[in-house]
Symmetry: D2
Subunit: 319 residues, 4 copies
């Protein structure tokens, strides 16, 4: 079965690569959107079953527009994530040489990722931010820019050539993309899952954040990420985006979320979904690792089930 | 309906007073036993429905024989507790004066509770421990002792008189007694209950005790007592007797006990039962206090039920 | 004495307003810089004593470039902070009406803060990001844009007029700016201070973040903010920017920082400085509030000094 | 140099064995006292430099009289501890056989430690508690008892013989004894030390005990024992005897104690002293173990010293 994907376009961006990766070989029907908000709204309105947006870069950090959009408005849940290596090329019109380049553009987050290369190779070129890397490539094709920082895969799309490859400063830069959809049946447990929520603090007493983290720590649930974002109600008021290991269908995670719910003024569930692994880690050993993770999750649940049985016996007076 | 009570005898002890208090006006059939172990065994074997033993003194601390007996052997559960003020009199044969007293006896814990009075009034008398205060009174009647420290109510039983009343050093000494029975239907929630367990640590890592206490603290369950006792397996190996506020039928307490079960190698449930109040506190305001405690327990459960409903909705994909 | 201030320029931005606020009536010598990095480098190289940059918006959240710059490279410390209300006007050339506006520009963070107004009033105008609001105003003056989102104070600078005032969606939007300088003598205790650090986790065991937060919570030090930023070493690796109440010269805060240092692989100190208050809070009651905060800090230190004296006596054998 | 030891007498008790062990080959001048209180008072009054009393049994638990005496009155500190295996023999007059024994005595704690042996071998003998095992032996010599439970070493003292050896139910029973003295120069760090304190809770809020334990846990200090004792002010009011690993001269331990002091209404220091090891553990590997423990304590201190230096640099403005 094939889904219709909305994604943060235009064509020729890393997000489009994420869509292909998530579709796993199927030829997805893909709908490029002009903004993160527009992408998510396409899912909310039913024009697409899935929406694909970046949520975090290993270099730039949180994609705050994605976080903020997920925290408010009609609820969406994450059903998959994928890690895409971010490798920039310098795209130009055929025949351009480095010495010809006066104006170079790309998405605002592209510039800091290639800062050193630009300083060494194009010290005098002016940087002009564009709505996306692909949009910068389009501007190069149309003559508004001399060069664009973009994925090499975008060259063909606009009749450009990669004048230089791998112009990014760090070799291991990765962006994490998520696929979201309307709430419905949850993805099943894969054996190595992740669960995401947004937590709104009840008040601001000393140790308030400890109380939240303790709900996970005292149940042995590992946090993989915590990200604070302003609520908009003034400096010092935040909501917290929390990713933890495990699936909400697991007893351990479910109980931690219930605890969170009780100590917070509100909690929004953002989904349980299979944890993405980096290409490097995703080799021959993966099946074994998955099996181990699965056993571990099962063991974890067995403990909870045993404790629940024990409590039921006590409550019924059997001790 | 009237129960048969086994209790730590002989007649004329504070434990007998506790039995009367627990029977609340009914004329209980009461079976005095020679030791705490014998009292509990009378319940285990069915010779009595209830067993009444001291568990804690506000002056002497834990009654370790009671704790140890409850932690091992056939399981019993606490179904009630009562606080009895401990007021000692000096009982003698009629006609005895202070100057005549050479040998004074009582239960070993009586002596430290009357230490100052003895030092001031009987500095030269020899202290002779007896199996119980009542047994000391019997020895006085038979001439083996000259005086006994015991409750004034024991005088009549042995034909003695209280030569001096209120010979205890502290006015507010209290002993807590519990009634135990075989496991079965739990006492209902009274609105102000207490739950008791024995926890056996899984291992001895730094912070092991924190992990245990955190199960209560992170769920807002208040501890009223923690008492360590050796397991018998060498110095440094303990089990912990824990009393907390609330009833195992409450969500908050039940979840804390399940958490405890998961982080401990073993947990023995010792009962949920109405919390005793001291005479001083048990005045006109009690009905109101009970109602308030009840509402608080209800509110506490409401939060848990709401969180469980929320989780169920999430798991079923409704967000 | 007057300082030379470097600031995130150009002239006519909110940062320039922050400089004037920080200079408190003095006419500061101010050096506009082209980027946050350039502003901080001006301080590092000695061309300015102080650098002023935005660090956090109540709407947009962390200014990540500032955080990242402070975490790496030559060390700088924050010596002051100020909160500036962010109020946008729509600046145009004289004679322009709403119907004339096809292209509207501003700093990328300006657009989301005025999203609703733009949707309602300029639904068909194209958004063009600029290097700063002031730069957008310059483009309007030069004819490259039709309107700019900027502070009303920028109008005069470029011969523009505010066609509409208060076009921001939220009335209470505030940006927090900090003044940084080279390390040196710390600002004295003001009675209501804040301390900032960057903490690098030692490893990623479950509860690692709890261990960090516990260093503050168990010493009664209140956190005002925690912000995670990627280390650049891949998804899942973060450093944490932590703001807490109090001054590093206080025992409580000093001890918390030492604890942090021991449980982290590295900690960078970012300064102790007087806590900014919002205009609303900064009224008649402030002197009283300051005095109270001061007494509280003193009391807090008194406890630490007393405990240290006690320990010294114990160690010297005086008990 | 040789000290004068007060100890819980009379001669022929396990406490006397502890004195010999603590004197390490020297022939100590030893003063038997009639009670734990009398033993400690002999030190308080200067009649002895050291007082030796039992503090904990691996079978019977805390020796509450010792704990309570150390918590109140003139302060004393523990300067050494020793673990003594508790092995009971049945002492009789020469010529007595098991069938002759009608009355058997000993210290009250001896009976439960030999309960099974007595039930199997002397089911019909009456148990008569004595002030000490040695006192029971004396009564046997004088004809008041037929047999005494006591250490085999007490036989000679009273002209008795061990009719049966090893009559205790558990082979590994151990009693921990401590030597106390007036406060003064602390014992130096041995590389494997223990520190003891008494903590009085400030109030009874939920989590109060967590706050205390956290002072140790968040600084990586391992607790070896926690023992609650009533304050005497009514059921539900306790003080806590805490033993932790390490020496008060160590930074880690000193800081934990200061933290304890700040969160408690009062803390009494009971000493830092070399940790006793059981005979079984005290073999060839000990020197190596000691060296390792020493390095560990040094490393631990090195971290604290480094952190303190770092803080000093920050406070002086050097970052």
């Amino acid at each position: 079965m094939s889904y219709r994907y909305a994604y943060l376009g235009p064509r020729g961006t890393f997000t489009e690569t994420a869509v292909r990766e998530l579709a796993q070989g199927a030829e997805p029907e893909a709908l490029p959107c002009g903004s993160i908000q527009a992408t998510l709204d396409a899912v909310r309105s039913g024009r697409a079953e899935l929406g694909v947006v970046p949520i975090e870069s290993s270099v730039e950090g949180a994609v705050t527009a994605t976080l903020d959009e997920l925290a408010i408005g009609t609820e969406l849940v994450i059903c998959a994530e994928v890690l895409i290596p971010v490798e920039f090329a310098l795209l130009t019109r055929p025949g351009t040489s480095l010495g010809d380049i006066r104006r170079v553009g790309g998405h605002p987050v592209a510039q800091p990722q290639c800062r050193n290369w630009l300083a060494a190779n194009l010290p005098h070129a002016r940087w002009l931010p564009a709505a996306s890397n692909s949009d910068a490539a389009r501007q190069v094709a149309e003559g508004g820019l001399d060069a664009a920082l973009a994925g090499a895969f975008a060259a063909d799309l606009y009749g450009l050539v990669p004048l230089a490859a791998a112009v990014h400063d760090r070799d291991d830069a990765v962006t994490r993309f998520v696929a979201v959809r309307l709430p419905g049946e949850l993805p099943g447990r894969s054996g190595a899952d992740k669960t995401s929520v947004v937590a709104f603090l009840m008040d601001d007493h000393p140790g308030a954040l400890m109380d939240i983290l303790g709900q996970f720590a005292f149940r042995g649930v590992n946090l993989t990420r915590i990200e604070s974002r302003p609520t908009g109600d003034g400096i010092g008021r935040y909501r917290f985006f929390i990713d933890c290991e495990g699936h909400v269908a697991q007893a351990r995670v479910g109980e931690a979320l219930m605890g969170l719910r009780r100590v917070c003024s509100a909690v929004r569930f953002l989904g349980s979904y299979p944890q993405a692994v980096t290409a490097a880690a995703d080799g021959a050993g993966t099946a074994a690792a998955d099996a181990q993770a699965d056993r571990q999750q099962d063991k974890s649940d067995a403990e909870y089930i045993e404790a629940a049985d024990w409590l039921a016996r006590i409550r019924s007076g059997q001790v």
